[in-house]
């Protein structure tokens, strides 16, 4: 890596990958490389964000992402405060705008926000001077997840350009799918989605992806199979008849992977529903890069925190970008 983020500007916030250029995305991945090493040290901590306060505002349950961000923040020596929807004023009906005003009054440097409503991260970012990092907003975006996925794909293949990535599962409700679509397309990958038609959102082709009706077609076509988690509440929504049925038609099993290219890899954002969207033999098998994804998650988040913390406020407005 030669250009580890020198001169890279992300702007004030990281709301979604759609706002970023290919150079910015690759710049984040390059910056993540040296951060991988810090987690291998005896003392896994560098002082760069000493004195910076970061609020992890998690208004929707999340274990993995919050822990990954916390590790990243602590390894950069930031002071962190966790606010989660249970036990906070959020539960008492405080509005997001009031939460934003309170955070602003406490003079914090950054907010990592997870929220159940699409657009919530942008909403917050537009209203406070602190850096805002989107840790997942509704069905809209989960940029750090997509960045760690991109890093994992690049680690394995050396390049993202020209790779064929098939995302399988509940595309309709998936912010992970959306952020990956933007990130992958900007990095020059070909992207397809596959899943029950009930879970393929209208107009998805307009984003520049192709749609496979049968998962077998996607498996044969792709270099990277990205298996999404099937939220169990989709059963109640009537999108799929049952978990068993979903596994029968769309589940990723060893036998289905027999048609895959020999170097095809399998990603999953976790947590896994074993035996539903993916079988244990695949999740634990040689194609799986699920654990490297988790490791890369910390490095990517460290890189994002570093890059945003170093951004100069006067550049922030111009770099923020409109969601268009």
């Amino acid at each position: 890596m030669t250009d580890n983020g020198e001169g890279l500007r992300l702007g004030k916030d990281l709301v979604g990958l759609k706002d970023l250029s290919r150079e910015q995305i690759l710049g984040i991945l390059d910056t993540a490389e040296p951060f991988k090493e810090i987690s291998e040290r005896p003392i896994k901590k560098v002082p760069i964000l000493r004195g910076q306060t970061i609020v992890n505002l998690f208004m929707e349950p999340s274990t993995r992402t919050r822990i990954s961000f916390e590790f990243a923040e602590k390894r950069l020596s930031a002071d962190t405060v966790n606010i989660s929807s249970s036990g906070s004023s959020v539960q008492k009906g405080e509005s997001l705008v009031d939460t934003a005003r309170n955070l602003e009054a406490m003079r914090i440097h950054m907010v990592v926000v997870r929220h159940g409503s699409s657009g919530a991260a942008r909403f917050l970012a537009d209203r406070i001077p602190s850096n805002v990092i989107n840790a997942g907003d509704g069905q809209h975006a989960h940029p750090t997840q997509a960045l760690l996925d991109l890093l994992t794909i690049r680690d394995r293949f050396g390049d993202i350009e020209g790779r064929r990535v098939c995302i399988v599962g509940d595309i309709q409700h998936s912010r992970v799918a959306r952020s990956n679509i933007w990130g992958l397309l900007k990095c020059g990958a070909e992207v397809a989605v596959c899943g029950p038609k009930t879970l393929i959102p209208a107009g998805i082709e307009d984003l520049g992806v192709q749609v496979f009706g049968r998962v077998e077609e996607g498996i044969e076509w792709c270099d990277v199979l990205y298996v999404l988690r099937l939220q169990l509440e989709r059963m109640q929504g009537g999108y799929v008849p049952s978990l068993r049925e979903y596994n029968r038609v769309f589940g990723i099993s060893s036998s289905r992977l027999q048609q895959a290219a020999s170097d095809m890899i399998v990603l999953h954002p976790g947590p896994i529903n074993r035996g539903v969207e993916i079988d244990s033999a695949v999740a634990n098998g040689p194609r799986s890069v699920i654990l490297p994804q988790v490791t890369n998650g910390v490095a990517v988040r460290m890189a994002v925190l570093y890059l945003l913390a170093g951004g100069q406020p006067e550049f922030a407005e111009s770099a923020k970008g409109e969601d268009k």
């Binding site: 657009g119 909403f123 307009d206």
Partner: protein
């Protein structure tokens, strides 16, 4: 008794009498006395020179929400009526989805009386005609006492805010209302198909991660109600048409002589789903802003006369209610004070409609279609008049609104045409800046 009023030298445009000429207009005893050249008028008349301005029948909006009773922090009958007058409207139809809803004669009577009470105190605006609830509690189950509502002043019935979902209830309404010769106003939406949608279904919603409302959610109900109107002979009026499919269905219904009419809002004429980008809650309304294809079809429907009426669906919401996550913000925008200007800009300046045709869609057609007073300057008719400058350009500043609410997607929009005087029953209820 108000003094006689003489408007001199204006361009009188009255589609109801095929008039478009420089004429004087004399009002005496709350009625239009004469529309001619060179009226001298009585000595005590108030004389206003309106040269260079358009004098037209007062605008009629058959779809507004005034929130009183129950939502007075958003709008009251008084502020709503004033906002209407500021927009050139002389009559508005107040929807019954208040709290409590206008589902009994007392509530209906209250709305009518409240507007009259402020008018008597010199604080009046447009005439406010209550629309009664079609079903008790707007619950979509049991028909209200429509005869009583009409006696109390209701001019139509609707469950607006909600659709009349039950086809059997809709059939009964279309049959029963014929005795009173009033229309059933339908918010055409299949709630099951809408599910938890918050904007138009399609690529933009997919990109923003917002749940979509498909076109068929509207079209399915329009189709059903068209057949029910055909079966019963009743008058169904489809509110705020948003889809090309609905335009096509109504065109076919009207060809077959079905009593189906429709309205379109200025925002569906002017905007598409693109306005939602950035999670702008002031572009969140139901029906949602649709695609460019839909927008063009609606405009064509309006030009062809398939959609006869422009109505605002004026839906005030308090700032704090809109200042939140898109999913949680309420549907609806204000429209009374921008409607005429947005329509002049979007329809007349573009050459799609003449001024006369626009006045027809905003005044004459609503009166004709709904069978109410107004929409004409014919001598003897009520002196409900709008005087506006069709050319002046201004930019929309919600801070200047008379409405209690400012939730408009047109903030900062450069528009043409501005109301100068609004006259209701011969009395000047609004006077705007030159």
């Amino acid at each position: 008794m108000t003094r006689p009023l003489l408007l001199t030298g204006g361009r009188v445009i009255d589609p109801s009498t095929n008039t478009d000429a420089e004429l004087d207009l004399l009002v005496v005893d709350e009625r239009v006395m004469a529309v001619e050249q060179g009226i001298s008028g009585p000595d005590d008349a108030v004389r206003i020179s309106v040269e260079g301005l358009v004098v037209a029948p007062g605008l009629i909006d058959v779809h507004v929400h005034f929130r009183e009773p129950g939502g007075e922090h958003k709008e009251t009958i008084r502020t709503g009526a004033k906002a209407a007058a500021a927009g050139g409207f002389t009559t508005v139809w107040a929807m019954p989805n208040t709290d409590p809803p206008l589902d009994d004669p007392a509530a209906v009577g209250y709305v009518r009386e409240e507007a009259r009470r402020w008018a008597r105190k010199g604080e009046g605006g447009a005439r406010v005609s209550p629309v009664g609830a079609a079903s008790k509690g707007l619950a979509g189950e049991q028909m209200t006492e429509i005869g009583g509502l009409v006696e109390a002043g209701a001019v139509a019935v609707t469950d607006d805010g909600y659709p009349i979902a039950d086809p059997l209830l809709m059939r009964r309404l279309l049959e029963y209302t014929q005795r009173f010769d009033i229309p059933v106003l339908q918010h055409a939406e299949d709630m099951a198909l809408t599910a938890a949608g918050v904007m138009n279904e399609g690529a933009v919603a997919t990109e923003l991660g917002l749940r979509g409302i498909p076109n068929v959610s509207e079209a399915a109900v329009v189709a059903r109600d068209m057949f029910l109107a055909e079966l019963t002979g009743g008058h169904v009026h489809i509110q705020h048409i948003s889809t090309r499919e609905a335009v096509g269905l109504i065109a076919r219904g009207r060809e077959r002589g079905v009593r189906i009419t429709a309205e379109v809002t200025p925002h569906h004429i002017a905007l598409t789903e693109e306005a939602v980008r950035g999670y702008r809650t002031e572009a969140k309304m139901n029906p949602p802003l649709r695609t460019e294809q839909d927008r063009l079809a609606i405009r064509q429907g309006l030009i062809d006369g398939v959609i006869g009426i422009i109505a605002t669906d004026h839906a005030p919401h308090h700032y704090e209610e809109k200042e939140r996550e898109f999913d949680d913000a309420p549907f609806g925008i204000v429209g009374l004070e921008t409607a005429l200007s947005v329509c002049v800009t979007e329809l007349v300046s573009t050459g799609d409609l003449t001024l006369s045709q626009l006045i027809d869609r905003m005044s004459c057609a609503p009166a004709r279609t709904m069978g109410i007073d107004g929409g004409t300057l014919q001598p003897g008719s009520p002196a409900d008049i709008v005087v506006f400058d069709p050319d002046v350009k201004w930019s929309v500043d919600p801070g200047q609104f008379h409405s209690k609410s400012q939730n408009t997607p047109f903030v900062g929009k450069e528009v043409r045409g501005r109301v100068r005087w609004t006259i209701v029953a011969g009395e000047i209820r609004y006077e705007g800046e030159a």
